[in-house]
């Protein structure tokens, strides 16, 4: 078996500063630089507006209130109102633009990762569970979105306000300002200690959360075993243990949060006390005015909010980094090289050839030195017991894997040099278990088309599906097929798969046990339709029905990845060989 795509628990540990990841993230923001710069401008405008309010208050107190002069006071009122309106407009515009830009960036990321996934090799899908990829495309990207909505720009804004307040304070009174500055180291120390401890508990929280989640996931997939073995209580106890660890980690982090905010407030109170004391002395001495004192008190009030804000946003940034790391891991998966190559330009049913092809999914060879040729308009039947390598031959021809030895060619072109899409475009395939999309019948039929054209679909519906089955679909092309075509019988699903494959007018038709699990009536119906198609196409058929095999131009019999017999039905039957035995017992003669 191929090694699974396991998630390391290290993935959940936060790395403090990972510049390469931030740089990669920045690439996504780059196209929106103009918008971001604009909203930064509005952010700064709003900040300046906010900074001006205490100063206007100071003017009001010193010029009018203390002096008792009410004449022209409306100037101040108008100024204050103007500042408020500027703040309102600028901050609304800013937060709307930033959040919307965040959405656009998420859009780009999401489409980018989705596009990337479309072109990943089949191998990737064999080893990566669908759920894991889903989380990347949806949840992880949503986490990064937080970085934009709550993070980045507000951080810049917070820093700007801090600087602005300091400058304003120095302009008002450098003596008082330098006293406030003395407080700064205390703040930095507090938030440093807080960050350090919170990060530690935060890692623990994430660690146990992810353990709990994978335990849960496993419980759900193994629920029948748990219930049959009466292990509900046992499993519940294990879950309880994990849940308890998670709770404990959270409780520990509460301590730090509970102590952090009061601590910052206490520091703010010390600042207020110092301003009151030294400011008061200066007022007594007549050095400063009341307005300056009040403005200082208001500035110091605004000073501490951004600091606790900044500390809180720290976690958002960290989790966004972790999420982007996981997203980039998928984006770093190499795209399928097979999509690159020459275009295959053919108009007629092609000649297919396998030369000395050997292949292993991982270590064990599943095809040994396979060589055969299918001439134009020929029908080749592949027969053999299960696990003999028939489907693998189809997979190689479809360019699902490229690590085989030997050569596979179409009309003399080595398919290694051809692009996967152009090879697949000439091939119509019907799998044993076709996947139908939960869309309308029409959309399923037009799977291989870029637009809806009535011809040749009308003819195909008439020829392949037929009136009787169209009635089953209520004669409606927009008949909704349930998820994975669950509402339909195997036969009905297979009919759609046939129509879907033939509608692209393929030059090469591949049927991989396409009629194996269909009821006889439907099979007869399909068989009748098929024969005329097969006559005019090159086809590769894996089947168990004698009538299909018998008329093949050549029959290739495989066992354990080797061709053991090769020839026409008559020739092989005459030899009374293994094929003869096989026919007698495995092939349905009806």
């Amino acid at each position: 078996m191929e090694t699974p795509f396991l998630e390391d628990l290290e993935d959940y540990k936060l790395k403090e500063y990972d510049w390469t990841i931030l740089k990669r993230l920045y690439k996504y923001a780059k196209p929106y630089t103009r918008k971001l710069v604009l909203s930064l401008f509005f952010l700064l405008t709003a900040s300046i507006g906010e900074l001006s309010l205490p100063y206007i208050t100071k003017l009001a107190i010193d010029k009018y209130i203390v002096t008792g002069q009410f004449h022209n006071f409306w100037h101040i009122i108008l100024l204050y109102l103007a500042a408020l309106l500027i703040i309102f407009i600028a901050s609304y515009y800013q937060s709307y633009t930033v959040q919307l830009t965040g959405q656009y960036i998420m859009y780009d990321m999401r489409v980018n990762i989705f596009r990337h996934i479309q072109y990943l090799p089949v191998k990737f899908f064999n080893r990566t569970p669908v759920g894991k990829i889903m989380t990347r495309v949806t949840n992880d990207i949503e986490v990064i979105n937080e970085l934009f909505t709550a993070g980045v720009l507000t951080i810049i804004g917070d820093v700007f306000i801090l600087a602005g307040i300091l400058i304003a304070m120095f302009l008002l009174n450098s003596y008082l300002a330098s006293i406030v500055i003395l407080i700064l180291p205390l703040i930095f120390l507090t938030s440093f200690l807080f960050r350090k401890n919170v990060r530690e508990t935060y890692n623990r929280v994430r660690f146990w959360l992810s353990k709990m989640n994978s335990f849960l996931q496993e419980s759900i997939s193994g629920i029948s075993i748990i219930q049959i073995f009466n292990a509900e209580r046992q499993n519940f106890n294990r879950f309880d243990e994990l849940n308890n660890e998670y709770k404990q980690a959270n409780l520990d982090s509460i301590f730090y949060y509970a102590i952090f905010y009061p601590a910052i407030e206490l520091i703010a109170a010390i600042a207020t006390a110092l301003i009151l004391f030294f400011g008061g002395i200066n007022i007594i001495k007549g050095i400063i005015t009341f307005g300056v004192l009040v403005a200082f008190l208001q500035y110091s009030y605004r000073f501490f909010r951004p600091i606790s804000d900044l500390t809180e946003k720290y976690n958002i940034v960290l989790s966004a980094i972790v999420a982007s790391e996981r997203i980039f891991k998928i984006l770093d998966e190499p795209e399928d090289k097979q999509y690159f190559g020459n275009e295959l330009l053919i108009k007629k049913a092609p000649l297919i050839s396998f030369q000395n092809v050997s292949f292993a999914y991982d270590e064990k060879l599943v095809l040994h030195d396979i060589s055969f040729e299918v001439a134009s308009n020929q029908r080749v039947a592949l027969v053999g017991p299960t696990g003999s390598g028939k489907t693998t031959i189809v997979n190689l021809l479809l360019k699902f894997y490229d690590n085989y030895s030997g050569t596979i060619s179409i009309d003399g072109c080595d398919i290694r040099n051809l692009s996967a899409s152009s090879v697949r475009k000439i091939i119509g395939v019907v799998f044993q278990e076709p996947f139908l999309f939960s869309k309308s019948l029409k959309e399923n039929l037009y799977l291989g088309h870029t637009e809806f054209q009535e011809y040749p679909m009308d003819k195909i519906i008439h020829d392949v599906i037929g009136d009787k089955f169209m009635k089953r679909f209520k004669n409606k092309l927009d008949y909704k097929i349930g998820e994975r075509g669950i509402e339909l019988s195997t036969g009905e699903r297979q009919l759609i798969a046939f129509a879907r494959a033939l509608s692209v007018n393929p030059l090469l038709l591949i049927l991989d046990e396409a009629t194996a699990s269909i009821d006889p009536e439907t099979e007869y119906w399909i068989q009748k339709r098929l024969d005329s198609w097969l006559a005019s196409h090159t086809s590769l058929i894996i089947a168990h029905r004698l009538s299909t095999i018998k008329h093949a131009n050549q029959i290739i019999m495989l066992a354990d990845g080797r061709i053991i017999e090769h020839g026409t039905h008559e020739k092989l039957m005459k030899n009374k060989s293994k094929y003869y035995l096989f026919c007698n017992h495995f092939i349905q003669t009806a």
Partner: protein, 618 residues
């Protein structure tokens, strides 16, 4: 309309109110600290007011120092109260979260198979993570801030009234606008938020389907079209987000504006009052501080509303899950809580009968070979799944000491038959009896404790080998475990591992080969010393030689007097006492190996096919 909506919110949140009731004392203490902390927050501005007023007249430096020190002390006390309130109330919400996690998981463990068949794994996962998180936010932070908001608002308004009632009324004029706009905006936000969520899940569905059908997408060279369709959904996601954001981002600036208008009124009217000597300068400054204390609640209120609304949606989803019936249809006589109790009388009959004839489920202690009184009898059972007929009129009977084999083509209904015996599903017609008691009358857990089951896919957990093998057992018997590992022919391989039976397996036992997993799963079934051994295609990935050894060892396994095996490999079943050939859900042939061969029917052709397959491969 809005009253109705409020009512449903409260109804949804009943798990929270129940939890609060259970922890009344803690909630009350926490609330008390919220009250104390709010009351302390109004002291500092008052000190400031006195200090400024004194400054205006005359004040000694000593007195000024006293006021400054007082501000620090008051804030320190305030801090202690805040610390306590946070510690108590937020911790309690973490305990609530913990209990809710446990409650959901516990419920999940007892849901019927039919629930899991719907394939809601992703949804259940998101319920237990995202939704529980959203609900905890309501139970903890939202509750705490709501109290804090109310208390602080009340205290601030009282202080403002104490300074000047008329100014207070004038200042508070913009505030009702906040409440009204919250109610109006909240509704719109909820509407757009649902739209955004819907599109988001549409996106998930698209991705999910794309990944499941990736083979078809590649074959039909549809990659670009898929990308286009994905882009389309994403575009409408952005469109909905645009509408949401245009309102949502308006909220905060709007509140700030209204608060600003209030400060404007203080500046204007309050300033005039100072000039007219109606209030002091200190009161003017303090009034500003109290308004700022009010401003935070006003903003917080919007935030709380938002959290409560998201929490209500999440709580609803969780309640839906916990309302899923654990009550299983096939337990005709019991409801949820009875699942483990069952009817006492029947338990005794089953166990007494077994104890009488087979002390400890042991085969060796069997009295009479064909004691029909405790045989398993399946008569005329019909089963269809989602109205697809799967089993049709199945009847057979197994007596202690017998091994029955079931064979037939793929999808003929072999595994389903096991699942009916295991009571994973309820059959629609017919009856299954054990010791003459209908299975439905035996409590499920008691019944399952009699069965050792080896499933088709050997599901192992990412736990130690030891814990995997002892699944469901309370006492670990190491010697017996080694014995079982020996019978399952895996003992040597395990002993070679670095931590032998303590080795931790990867997710779904991924570190082991398929054959190893199957043998471990056989050992796990043997550990139970069961009365029945159900082997569902247990050797599909085990080579013939090992299988042969395994059969030899199993024949001397002292327990499980009734054994049922299903397999498509003739050599696995040829020695069974009775072989049932199932085709298309009905028993087509019945007999032992030689009689079935003589019939020259389905069994014969299966046998021939396998012989020839052997020849071809050689």
């Amino acid at each position: 309309m809005s009253r109705l909506y409020k009512l449903t919110i409260f109804k949804e949140f009943s798990p929270i109110s129940l939890f609060y009731k259970e922890n009344k004392k803690i909630i009350l203490t926490g609330s008390l600290f919220v009250l104390l902390s709010s009351s302390m927050s109004i002291v500092s501005p008052w000190i400031l007011k006195i200090a400024i007023d004194d400054l205006k007249i005359a004040i000694s430096i000593k007195q000024l120092g006293f006021y400054a020190a007082l501000i620090i002390i008051v804030t320190a006390i305030h801090g202690i109260f805040r610390y306590k309130m946070r510690k108590i109330l937020i911790s309690l919400s973490r305990i609530f979260e913990y209990q809710l996690h446990n409650k959901i998981y516990h419920h999940l463990l007892y849901l019927p198979q039919s629930f899991f068949d719907k394939g809601y794994t992703g949804e259940v996962m998101s319920k237990i993570t995202n939704d529980v998180h959203a609900v905890r936010m309501v139970a903890g932070p939202a509750f705490m801030y709501l109290l804090n908001t109310i208390f602080t608002a009340v205290f601030s308004v009282i202080m403002m009234l104490a300074i000047n009632p008329k100014l207070t009324v004038l200042t508070l004029i913009p505030l009702p606008i906040i409440s009204i706009s919250i109610a109006k905006i909240g509704k719109k936000i909820r509407y757009h938020f649902t739209k955004v969520q819907e599109t988001f899940s549409e996106m998930s569905v698209k991705t999910q389907e794309n990944l499941s059908g990736i083979r078809e997408i590649k074959v039909f060279a549809r990659e670009e079209k898929e990308i286009n369709e994905f882009q389309k959904i994403n575009k409408s996601y952005i469109e909905h987000n645009k509408k949401l954001l245009s309102i949502y981002t308006l909220m905060h600036p709007f509140f700030v504006l209204l608060i600003g208008l209030s400060t404007l009124i203080i500046l204007w009217v309050g300033g005039k009052y100072v000039i007219d000597n109606k209030i002091s300068l200190g009161s003017f400054v303090a009034f500003n501080s109290y308004l700022l204390l009010l401003a935070w609640p006003a903003v917080a209120f919007g935030w709380i509303i938002n959290i409560v609304q998201r929490g209500a949606a999440s709580m609803k989803r969780i309640n839906e899950l916990t309302a899923e019936k654990t009550n299983q249809k096939y337990l005709k006589n019991s409801n949820i809580s009875d699942r483990h109790k069952g009817t006492e009388t029947h338990r005794h009959i089953v166990f007494e009968t077994i104890e009488k004839f087979f002390p400890g489920n042991a085969l060796s202690s069997m009295n009479k070979k064909s004691d029909t009184s405790i045989s398993l009898e399946i008569s005329q059972v019909n089963f269809s799944y989602n109205s697809h007929p799967i089993l049709n009129n199945i009847s057979f009977c197994i007596h202690p000491g017998e091994t029955i084999a079931i064979t037939g083509p793929t999808a003929s209904g072999k595994s389903t038959l096991f699942k009916l015996i295991l009571r994973r599903y309820a059959y629609q017609k017919g009856i299954v009896r054990f010791a003459n008691i209908p299975l439905e009358d035996i409590p499920l857990q008691e019944w399952l404790s009699l069965i050792g089951y080896v499933p088709q896919d050997a599901f192992l957990f990412s736990d130690s080998i030891e814990n995997n093998i002892n699944l469901g057992l309370e006492i670990f018997d190491d010697d017996y475990m080694k014995q079982c590992l020996k019978i399952a022919c895996i003992e040597q391989e395990i002993m070679q591992l670095s931590h032998d039976t303590k080795t931790i397996l990867g997710e779904r036992g991924i570190t082991l080969s398929g054959g190893q997993k199957q043998r471990l799963s056989i050992a796990r079934a043997l550990m139970k010393k069961p009365f029945f051994l159900l082997l569902d295609d247990p050797f599909s990935q085990i080579d013939i030689e090992t299988e042969h050894q395994l059969w030899n060892k199993l024949s001397s396994y002292p327990y499980a007097p009734i054994r049922i095996i299903s397999s498509q490999r003739i050599h696995s079943i040829r020695n069974a006492d009775t072989i049932l050939v199932i085709d298309n859900g009905s028993i087509a042939e019945k007999g032992n190996h030689s009689t079935l061969l003589n019939m020259k029917g389905l069994y014969y052709s299966l046998f021939q096919k396998q012989l020839i397959e052997q020849i071809i491969k050689e």
